[in-house]
Amino acid sequence: MSGYSITEPSPRQKWVAGALVALYAIITILPLVWIIATGFKSSADAIAYPPKVVFAPSLEGYVNLFTTQTRQTAEYFAANPPETWYERIVQSKGLTIAGPSRFGERFMNSVIIGFGSTFLSVFLGTLAAYAFSRFKVPLKDDLMFFILSTRMMPPIAVAIPIFLMFRSLGLSDTHAGMILLYTAVNLSLSVWLLKGFIDEIPHEYEEAALIDGYTRFQAFTKVVLPQAATGIASTAIFCLIFAWNEYAFAVLLTSGTAQTAPPFIPTIIGNAGQDWPAVAAGATLFLLPVMVFTILLRKHLLRGITFGAVRK
């Protein structure tokens, strides 16, 4: 053996391992690259055979995504020449822009419902997690398990009574209803994650504050909360990503005013079947924020996806 530590892999081993991992990473990222690329293809390039790797970038997909269009005659175009770049793109296919599409609205619904439910579930989750972490709550373990078990039900099974409940309360297809529902679903995650984060803050800080004459509530807001800030922020991002991605409840309980982007994007239809550049453009805008968050969160990722069961 050479002079390396016996547990340290040799440079050759490292090189081979690195090459294999890089190969897997490149293969795995390919579909995502393809989504982004397809968004910038013209409709002809998108469905070309063989699939085009080099293509002239076009914003056609994005224009189709945000607008609805109608067919017009050549005389119409002679009388009303297109003024903006996007009108020119549409005109090249003999169409004019009739108005905005629903994508903007659906995207905003995702934002409203995502942030609303995240705020509520982190707020309630922090309170509950603090209580579970610091006080003797009767039946603590059973309650914690009950909170986790709410995540085991298939969403479709829960959706049957929720559907009936929402219908009789007038909550179907409303922002309030979806925020409430996603808050409840995310509570299990936020309570479990935040309890882990708060458990890690030493009791001594609060005790010192209590001795200094703080009330329990002041100790919580002025001592524990600032210390738990990182944990609360990463919990919030996990809740946001879940609400952002959720599909089953959204497709069953919303149809119009409160519909979020995931059930909407697959329904983007062009003149002949699915308009893939527009779908890809919508998917890109929808997925990019999550990719950025994933990169920011990479140190806490494992903890978040295992409900705090595995901590690095």
Partner: protein, 315 residues
């Protein structure tokens, strides 16, 4: 301990401070903090669960709210457990579950093992690999139908490029024999990083000193792997399998967008079947019984599994 410190401090503080110190009692704060969470979960989970149980004994149909509802006892349960279509659905689910878990554990563990070689650029590649996991399954699943298209899809093109087959000769989501694999491939693509991350945490938890000791005893690398690496990462692996098992038992969004349950019933997983019964055929009572059966199954299997997991951890 901590209680006594506070108690002693309370005795030592002057009465004016002590009154402020008490404020709300700890008990009161605990209840105020926990109550909203429990209340919301009762309202959105337990109350609906009880309602589902009630509905499961009736022939209620949600699209006919004014029709008379009859109590039909256990007839819904009886019909479900003797229905051959449901057994087909269960088989499709089991096939999907087993293969996704096997593939994800094998690939995920191998990747973690390689990444643990601590080569340069390790963090960058890891971050790239985890990306698919966090994305919306519905949106990504929908786009995969494009990748799977025989004529223009990237997947078929790449497979054809390496195997020499005609890319139009097979349709991953249109063919009865390939569709079950189409959903397994996408799920594996999405969730292998999840297993990988957990395995990586497991591998990193093994102290170097154990390997050094094994090296001194001249244990071969192969033996070290089977007697140190694998047993010590097993609890982590089992946890990963638990998470993937529960998630894939509930699987809905990805597969609905990919195949919609077809062709025929080949990829109709239980959640998709349940959705059809409840929200397309509107057999609410029947679907409620179905939901209860699924819940009992997943809850039962998970509890047995957790017991096994705890035994492995204790070893």
């Amino acid at each position: 301990m901590s209680q006594s410190v506070i108690a002693r401090a309370a005795e030592a503080t002057p009465p004016g401070v002590a009154r402020r110190f008490r404020g709300l009692s700890d008990r009161a704060i605990a209840w105020i903090f926990v109550a909203p969470t429990i209340f919301l979960l009762l309202a959105v989970n337990i109350f609906p669960l009880i309602w589902t149980i009630r509905l499961s004994f009736t022939n209620f149909r949600a699209n006919r709210p004014n029709a008379e509802v009859e109590w039909i006892g256990l007839r819904n349960y009886d019909r479900i457990l003797t229905d051959s279509d449901i057994w087909e659905t269960m088989q499709a689910t089991a096939h999907f579950l087993c293969w996704t878990i096997v593939l994800q554990v094998l690939i995920g563990f191998s990747l973690a093992w390689l990444i643990n070689r601590k080569f340069k650029g390790n963090d960058l590649w890891t971050t790239i690999i985890v990306l698919p996991m966090m994305l919306s399954p519905a949106v990504v699943g929908n786009f995969w139908t494009f990748l799977y298209q025989p004529q223009i899809g990237l997947f078929n093109y790449v497979v054809a490029f390496f195997t020499g087959a005609d890319p139009t000769s097979f349709s991953m989501i249109g063919s009865v024999s390939l569709a079950p694999w189409a959903i397994i491939i996408v799920d594996t693509w999405m969730w292998t990083p999840f297993v990988m991350l957990i395995c990586l945490a497991g591998l990193r938890s093994i102290p170097d000193s154990i390997y050094e000791a094994a090296e001194c005893d001249r244990a071969s690398k192969w033996r070290q792997f089977w007697t140190i690496t694998l047993p010590m990462t097993l609890p982590f692996l089992m946890l990963a399998v638990l998470f993937r098992g529960i998630e894939n038992f509930k699987m809905f969004d990805l597969v609905v967008q990919l195949t919609g349950g077809g062709p025929g019933n080949t990829t109709t997983l239980t959640s998709i079947d349940l959705k059809r019964e409840a929200f397309e055929k509107w057999r609410t009572g029947y679907a409620s019984a179905y939901a209860i059966i699924l819940f009992v199954t997943v809850f039962g299997l998970a509890s047995i599994y957790v017991k096994a997991l705890n035994k492995v951890k204790e070893r």
